[in-house]
């Protein structure tokens, strides 16, 4: 193990933000448009260096509204695209995220959460944007939100985000936070063969037979590359299967329900969680993002006292992984939901709690990561 002096192959010391860059490139992302903001700037910086080396395109736009606009345009032209921002910029992007949901444009939006509201705490972590990621844009819309907790899983989850986005033709939001984004860790980079990549389905019929928003069994219509001879109409208005605006109740209803159906049909694949010591657990921590790290340590520490504690890490935050959470709620006497906000995922946990399992919250909004000691003392009180 202790080979000194020689640089180890494939082991790199990198930040969470740098891992997101590498993950995106591994997944096939070749377009990035963004506007710098702490603590997400390293993603733009990394992309500006790496994309030109790989024949990709990097644009620094004039603001976040234009950034997401460019990303949607690039994706429609057939290129896997991404942008990255933090809370204030994420708010600006909301309208166009809704457009991407409605027009079914695959894209990945990274939100590295910092303290808010408004300019808040630019250099400190928070988890305050969880509900904004789900409901930030207006109207009933399905969306996929994934949360990263370590540098290594920043890489893996970014690849996953692109895969889900391409498969379901939906914007995928990656929630990171300052604590993950700026932590440097050693990571062993997987070789390209180990990485599974999914690309969007393209139409196989001749252009004149192509129905851009066709109702298919999966709910996901094939997506033509703009400029390859499949002309179609793209709009944020309610549209019929050919993409033209409609106000007909039957067509509108079918569209909105199909947008939801494509996500609910893929629920088992989209719902991603990681269990830690849950086998015989009587009390559990449900956590996501950087707080997971402290929770793991706390679970290991209370187990030393003979307390049967476990951890359920939510990787997918939305659609809310209710099946896994319900299993934990049925199994355990009490559940702790520690968050760096005043209770956003804990509300979801309480919503799906059908039994009388006690759901305790532990919240911090001072820009500091919740420590293992804090979770430890909460777990002891729940014993």
């Amino acid at each position: 193990m202790n080979r000194t002096g020689a640089k180890r192959k494939n082991i790199l010391l990198m930040q969470g933000n740098e891992a997101i860059v590498e993950g995106a490139l591994a997944a096939g992302c070749r377009f990035f448009a963004g506007y710098p903001i702490t603590p997400a700037s390293e993603i733009s910086e990394g992309m500006s260096i790496r994309l030109p080396q790989m024949d990709g395109t990097f644009i620094q736009m004039e603001d976040e509204i234009a950034s997401i606009g460019a990303v949607i345009g690039a994706s429609l032209a057939g290129v896997k695209s991404m942008t990255a921002t933090s809370g204030p910029g994420f708010s600006l992007m909301q309208e166009n995220i809704g457009f991407a949901c409605m027009a079914e444009v695959p894209c990945v939006i990274v939100n590295v959460m910092r303290g808010g509201p408004s300019t808040g705490l630019p250099t400190h972590p928070s988890q305050g944007d969880v509900m904004q990621a789900r409901w930030g844009t207006h109207g009933d819309h399905p969306i996929i939100v994934l949360a990263v907790s370590t540098v290594r899983d920043s890489f893996e989850i970014t690849v996953e985000a692109f895969n889900l986005s391409e498969k379901y033709r939906v914007p995928v939001i990656i929630l990171s936070d300052e604590a993950v984004a700026h932590t440097r860790e050693t990571v062993t980079m997987p070789s390209p063969e180990e990485i599974k990549i999914i690309d969007r389905i393209k139409p196989e019929m001749p252009p004149e037979w192509y129905i851009p928003y066709e109702v298919t069994s999966t709910g996901v219509p094939p997506m033509a590359v703009f400029g390859e001879g499949y002309p179609y109409h793209i709009t944020g208005l309610s549209h019929d299967v050919r993409g033209f605006p409609t106000q007909r109740p039957d067509e509108t209803d079918e569209l909105i329900r199909r947008l939801y159906r494509k996500i609910t049909q893929g629920f088992h694949e989209i719902q991603k969680i990681k269990s830690f010591m849950m086998g015989d657990a009587e009390i559990a921590v449900i956590a996501y993002g950087s707080v997971t790290r402290s929770a793991r340590q706390a679970v290991l520490d209370v187990r030393q006292l003979g307390i049967r504690a476990g951890l359920l890490q939510l990787v997918t935050l939305f659609p809310f992984p209710r099946e896994s959470v319900e299993t934990v709620l049925n199994q355990c006497r009490a559940v702790l939901v520690p968050e760096m906000n005043l209770g956003q995922i804990s509300r979801e946990v309480k919503r799906v709690n059908q039994k009388d399992t006690r759901v305790t919250t532990y919240n911090r909004v001072d820009g500091q990561l919740i420590t293992p000691e804090e979770i430890y003392s909460q777990l002891i009180q729940m014993k």
Partner: protein, 195 residues
């Protein structure tokens, strides 16, 4: 010293612009990429580009690291008075304080390795900006879980192009300066009334 704990917590602190984070990155790279340990490096700073208190933590472990920050550092390197005063209370009583006496005039404990890093940098390299590497060199000599060669290789890989020579000179000057320190002569614990 401090070789047996599987988890070592180290903190560098000073003023923004002193190269605090760079010193931590080089240490993390040396221990992680070259020596094969698990490492986690985090930092905390304000929105300003220069000034303000800045700290950078490195956790080095033989096991996978959960909590990424240093909660009770065993080694604290303080590059200015304000940060020394602020973070000294976090120091493990069995740990060691390392200070830059160019800026830290009021040292809060007798259990300290005190060297004028900035002055050494000015004298040996002609560049006070290299004080962080002098500190890292001295630190590397006192901390046995990282090798001098790994530190030098990591430094060459991480510092900005064109500054490798100056920084390497500074690192070695720091190592040499620390050779004159006698840790056995120090009190075994930081006294209770101090913490």
């Amino acid at each position: 010293m401090i070789e047996n704990d599987y988890r070592n917590e180290i903190r560098f602190c000073g003023s923004g612009g002193q190269g605090i984070i760079m010193a931590a990155i080089v240490l993390a790279e040396a221990a992680g990429v070259y020596d094969g340990k698990y490492v986690c490096q985090t930092q905390s700073y304000g929105p300003e580009a220069r000034g303000g208190t800045c700290k950078a933590d490195v956790v080095i472990s033989s096991k996978e690291i959960d909590y990424p920050k240093a909660s009770r550092p065993t080694l604290l390197v303080a590059m200015n008075q304000a940060s020394c005063d602020k973070y000294f209370l976090d120091l493990n009583p069995k740990g060691l304080l390392i200070v830059d006496t160019t800026y830290v005039k009021k040292v809060p404990t007798g259990r300290v390795a005190a060297l004028p890093f900035t002055r050494i940098a000015r004298q040996e390299t002609g560049n006070t900006m290299a004080a962080n590497m002098v500190a890292l060199g001295a630190f590397g000599h006192l901390y046995k879980n990282v090798t001098a060669k790994s530190l030098e290789d990591a430094l060459m890989a991480r510092v900005p192009k064109g500054t490798e020579e100056v920084n390497l000179l500074a690192l070695r000057a720091g190592m040499d300066a620390a050779k004159h320190l006698d840790l056995c002569a120090l009190p075994q614990l930081v006294r209770e009334e101090e913490v």
